[in-house]
């Protein structure tokens, strides 16, 4: 941990201290001269990156770049910079050139650069996450607001006239709303790290079951807790339930339970998976491979995203999902590799 967050700064102690406080938990070794910095590099733990001033003869970035291993990232941050120095430093092998005098808070900018070098994956992940959140918010507002307006208009129009077309438009709007929910859910699945914790399966299943259906849910009386992220697990069940009701209609019964080992042992620690099945029309064997693909749907009202999102979530959790035929002739989804508690 210590070597991972260790950097070397060659330059004035005052600037070094400012960078150090901007870095927070990262450790920064400060050396006033290039000679002292090179000596440190030879004798001590290798830092993750070196930041150097360029103010010869005390600090000479070219001398440093000649000495350090080519894979060592060097950030050149001169107190008296120029475009020609920037060009020469980058040509000599500097990873980044940053002129702190041109920035409002030079020390903070250098600290951010150090973090970016030390944790490139985290930085790019954070940036990607921020972009996805921004986009989600935009999609959410820019699409849901007009859907609300159109829905409101349809409901008001229904008070003035009767038309089957109004009902059809209502249904289309409902479908668009569902599509937006799915898209936003998908962005959430792709854009964030997961936070696994023990989750009460029964509670999640109850919350995921749609309120507006007459279909029946039959859940095993004793379901275990499992390691998962609650919100995504709920979305997984919501999508599987919606899929069952969309294809099987309001008369179907959906069952959820634990797949026990073949020897009939009932110990929860030996349970091997979960099943979600129904007595609907089922899925043809030749279509079972493709149901998890984006855009696949054989339902007039399907978006082709629901089961693809289920598959994404299962992958994110490190589980496996298969689809087969239930004993009652409907579809049966089986989820394996989950950690039951």
């Amino acid at each position: 941990m210590e070597s991972r967050d260790l950097s070397l700064f060659i330059g004035q102690t005052e600037m070094g201290s400012q960078i150090e406080s901007a870095l927070g938990n990262h450790r920064l070794i400060i050396k006033e001269t290039t000679t002292a910095g090179v000596e440190y590099l030879v004798d001590e733990t290798e830092p993750n990156c070196v930041v150097t001033d360029h103010n010869p003869p005390a600090q000479d970035c070219f001398e440093l770049l000649d000495t350090v291993a080519p894979e060592m990232p060097v950030i050149v941050a001169p107190t008296d910079g120029s475009s020609s120095l920037a060009t020469r430093a980058l040509r000599a092998g500097a990873k980044t050139y940053l002129d702190p005098t041109t920035l409002e808070n030079g020390a903070a900018a250098i600290a951010a650069e150090i973090v970016g070098v030390e944790h490139p994956a985290e930085t790019s992940h954070d940036e990607a996450k921020a972009r996805i959140e921004e986009f989600s918010s935009l999609v959410s507002h820019e699409l849901r607001s007009p859907i609300q307006k159109a829905t409101s208009g349809i409901d008001l129009a229904k008070t003035q006239c009767e038309s089957r077309y109004l009902d059809e438009v209502s249904e289309t709007l409902d479908r668009m709303d569902e599509l937006i929910d799915n898209l936003l859910g998908l962005m959430d699945t792709e854009g964030n790290t997961i936070d696994m914790e023990p989750v009460d399966l029964s509670a999640v299943i109850e919350a995921a079951w749609p309120d507006d259906t007459a279909a029946t849910l039959d859940v095993d009386t004793e379901l275990p807790s499992i390691e998962a992220e609650r919100s995504r697990l709920q979305q997984l069940f919501e999508n599987l339930f919606r899929n069952a009701v969309e294809h099987g209609g309001e008369a179907i019964t959906v069952r959820v339970g634990v797949i026990e080992p073949a020897d009939g042992s009932t110990s929860s620690t030996e349970s091997i998976g979960l099943y979600i099945d129904d007595d609907g029309p089922g899925i043809e064997p030749d279509r079972r491979e493709t149901v998890f693909e984006y855009g696949y749907t054989n339902s007039e009202n399907g978006t082709g995203l629901g089961l693809a999102i289920v598959s994404e979530i299962v992958d994110t959790f490190g589980w496996e999902i298969t689809v087969t035929e239930s004993a009652r002739g409907g579809a049966r989804f089986e989820i394996y590799q989950l950690n039951m508690i």
Binding site: H141, S145, K149, T151, S152, D155, L156, L173, L184, D212
Partner: protein
């Protein structure tokens, strides 16, 4: 129980068609007023009494957030439901509102949220009244012997009212459409 016909809901949304549809959904059960901006809503609140404000979060000019901040600062005593097209974020924890709906809002969702907000308000009133009676009961039972109190008609009325209220509180908590909310209130009770 709650007499909803006497309740007034102020609907605030810059989209006239959306505001009118909310009015349509609610008009059979509630008195409604519509305002198309945050500023106009605050002026309305200054002039007449309302029981619930249904406010759009993103509006040009004064946003729903600013409207509910004013309501909070003015310490106005009514329920507030925020309606928004954006999925709720962690910031709603600090938001002084009693409900949060995500657009598009259906008639059932809107009615359910408004009914629930009034039910919670009613429940809170019951609890406050019960606590008052309970305080008086404690004072009287520590001051007088049970034999003396047994002869007092007004003490018997107090006991009867408390018993009545206990039943009413339990029934109100049971009546919440959301079973999780019922469970939570049952635990509190």
């Amino acid at each position: 129980m709650i007499d909803t016909s006497e309740k007034t809901v102020l609907i605030v949304d810059d989209e006239e068609m959306v505001a009118e549809s909310y009015e349509l959904y609610l008009q059979d059960d509630y008195e409604t007023i519509v305002e198309l901006s945050g500023g106009a809503a605050l002026m309305e609140l200054d002039q007449r009494e309302v029981d619930l404000v249904l406010v759009d979060r993103r509006m040009p000019g004064m946003s729903g957030d600013v409207v509910i901040d004013h309501i909070d600062q003015w310490e106005m005593d009514f329920q507030v439901i925020m309606v928004t097209a954006v999925d709720p974020d962690i910031d709603i924890i600090d938001m002084p509102c009693d409900g949060y709906l995500t657009k598009p809002v259906s008639e059932d969702e809107l009615l359910d949220a408004v009914n629930r907000a009034f039910q919670i308000d009613y429940y809170e009133d019951l609890i406050a009244e019960y606590n008052q009676l309970s305080e008086k009961y404690e004072v009287l039972t520590s001051q007088f012997s049970s034999r003396k109190l047994a002869n007092k008609d007004r003490f018997a009325d107090l006991e009867a009212r408390m018993e009545e209220m206990e039943t009413e509180i339990a029934e109100t908590a049971e009546g919440f459409s959301d079973s999780k909310l019922s469970d939570a209130f049952r635990r509190l009770h």
